[in-house]
Amino acid sequence: MFPDLNSILNSSPDSFREREFILLSDRQADASFLIHHYLTFYLKARCKVCFLGLVQSFSHYSVVSQRLGVNLTQAKEKGQLVFLEGLKASPGVLLNEDTSDTTHTFDYLRSPCAELRGLFEFVCKSLSQSGDEAGSEPWAPPVLIIDDLSVLLSLGVSAGAILDFTHYCQATICSQLQGSLVALVRCDDEEWDEDEENSSYLLKALTHQCSLSLRVEGLSTGYCRDIHGQVEIWRRGRAEENQRKVFQYKVHDKGASFFAPGTSRAVL
């Protein structure tokens, strides 16, 4: 977790807002460093986390989280983290080998009816069990982290199905279970075709549903080695709280630093 970002959002592992739908998005940049931030943040806050890893392997997140101070393997053994290895299971499902797969978790890979209902049932099942094995105290409210949603568009799932899935997840997790939901959507540079299977359309619809949005973009003036991009933070709330804040950021080996535009150490 990044201390700079915690102070910007006024949150810490001891006190954070519940029932949040946090939307991370990027355009011409890579917002996956924010996924690592939220994963380590909620694990440190003793929340039960369900992580849908659809684009990278478990060891990638494990190595990065180790640097940020959290041991994912230990969290998985204790039952605090439920990690879905979506990437690893996909060739088996696509080549129709896994005939013993009675659960429908990977139905989104099986066409013609690419559905996310099975995935939703997996999420519900993993987040509804609470309490660790020692039975000392239950975990804090559950959190679902999805990395990332736009890869489902590449696999043939329609944008409508993804929106249904996030709506169901938000209703179950944020309203019923008092937990939070974090999702990453990656967009393209421009809107090349106006059809509905566009990640920009998905982003617009999800921004309407979310309660906190962090948009990562590259610098408009071009590529820079010392400033990796800028983040626009917007929170839904009452009129006086409803403002956008823009920060520039630089990602290091062990974290990221956020600063007001124009105040990068390379510039000052």
Partner: protein, 386 residues
């Protein structure tokens, strides 16, 4: 940083190989990543040290597919020299033709003989005593039998072909689309046969760690030529709304999954200038780890431009992978140009040549004339040069 516990038999290529024998032709970077060379040292440098084992490099072809095919050949030749196994899939040229035309590696002749091995016998007639370079008289002779070099990255001579002995010592797996039986699955479309073949090779040869103890661990290099072109049976290059719009991206996703769980590295070339739907290209870029685009100057107006006369084309780095770390190796600048020489494919920073054209002196002359009289008419064509 502690290594992840070995619980499953599936081998993750991103685990630190502590205590295991070093794989041939690879080195471990500081981030516990096993990397191998792509065959072109300039490209290794541009991608931050080489290709990570378990990653996918996507090359956007130039218009005539000459330089991208060359990069693929360098990649395969590097595999032959390092002793890796190779897998080549193609729909247009037969893989055997591509393999026969691999360039010859230039190996140093400073490989010292191992202890205990007798020195090669002297020639029947003693060589003439050297008159000029007499200090080199006693140096060992050049080794002509194939030796595997442990250097990271090699140079290749394009005018000569690879030694057939080296080729015979390497294990090849090929996939030539016209010779395969057509299998279609609804989600993978025309690529299901290719994915099946890749998975079979990885499993049978034990690259995913499932083999018996007897086999020595090795790296598999996968090369796929012109994926997505019409010859693969896909119409993503022919129409804006193709019939199987998700077949190519689903294939890349599954390939990425296979690579992550095995000791293999893949280079795929794609005719990006033919793909009509830009969103498909954007998705393919996001599904790959490293993406590089080649833009050659031949048959374009830049060929005769004075700015680019030293180079053969531009190399655009669209994406650099960041695996096992928060931040990738950010390059200094992204303006790179390539130049093909016989013994080296050099990639360097784009330098503008000095402006030594005739107009420079002419401008200075006319400026001197114009400044003499303030009311005089402007003399001829005064070029304003900033």
């Amino acid at each position: 940083m502690m290594a992840a516990p070995v619980q499953t038999q599936a081998c993750s290529s991103f685990r630190r190989s502590a205590g295991r024998a070093q794989l041939r032709g690879t080195r471990t970077t500081g981030r516990a990543l096993l990397t191998t060379s792509s065959g072109v040292t300039g490209l290794d440098r541009a991608l931050g040290g080489g290709l990570a084992v378990g990653s996918l490099l996507l090359i956007e072809e130039d218009q005539t597919d000459s330089y991208s095919r060359l990069l693929l050949q360098y990649f395969l030749a590097e595999g032959v020299v390092c002793g890796h196994q190779l897998y080549l899939a193609s729909a247009r040229d037969h893989p055997d033709d591509i393999i026969q035309n691999l360039p010859l590696p230039i190996l140093d002749d400073d490989v010292t003989p191992k202890l205990g091995e007798p020195l090669p016998p002297a020639d029947a007639q003693p060589p003439d005593p050297m008159k000029i370079a007499w200090r080199y008289q006693n140096f060992p002779k050049v080794q002509t039998e194939p030796v595997s070099s442990f250097r990271f990255g090699h140079y290749y001579d394009l005018s000569k072909r690879m030694d057939p002995q080296l080729l015979q010592a390497t294990q090849f797996h090929t996939f030539y689309l016209p010779e395969e039986t057509e299998e279609r699955s609804s989600s993978l479309g025309p690529y299901s046969g290719l994915l099946q073949s890749i998975q079979t090779v990885i499993r049978n040869e034990g690259f995913d760690g499932s083999s018996s103890q007897g086999k020595v661990r090795n790296v598999l290099r996968l090369g796929v030529h012109s994926l997505g072109s019409a010859l693969w049976g896909d119409d993503v290059c022919l129409s804006e709304s193709p019939a199987h719009s998700h077949a190519l991206t689903t294939f890349l996703y599954a390939l990425r999954a296979l690579l992550r769980s095995s000791l293999s590295v893949a280079v795929v070339t794609v005719p990006a200038h033919l793909i009509q739907s830009k969103s498909v290209l954007g998705r393919m870029v996001k599904l790959s780890d490293a993406v590089v685009a080649l833009e050659s100057f031949c048959s374009s107006e830049r060929e005769t431009s004075s700015v680019y006369r030293e180079y053969h084309g531009l190399l655009h780095i669209r994406q650099v992978p960041h695996l096992n770390c928060l931040v990738c190796e950010v390059p200094d600048n992204k303006d790179l140009a390539f130049k093909l020489k016989r013994k080296q494919f050099s990639i360097e920073k784009l330098h503008l040549p000095p402006d030594l054209s005739e107009t420079v002196s002419r401008v200075s002359k006319s400026k001197a004339e114009g400044s003499s009289g303030c009311g005089s008419a402007p003399s001829g064509h005064v070029q304003l040069d900033f």
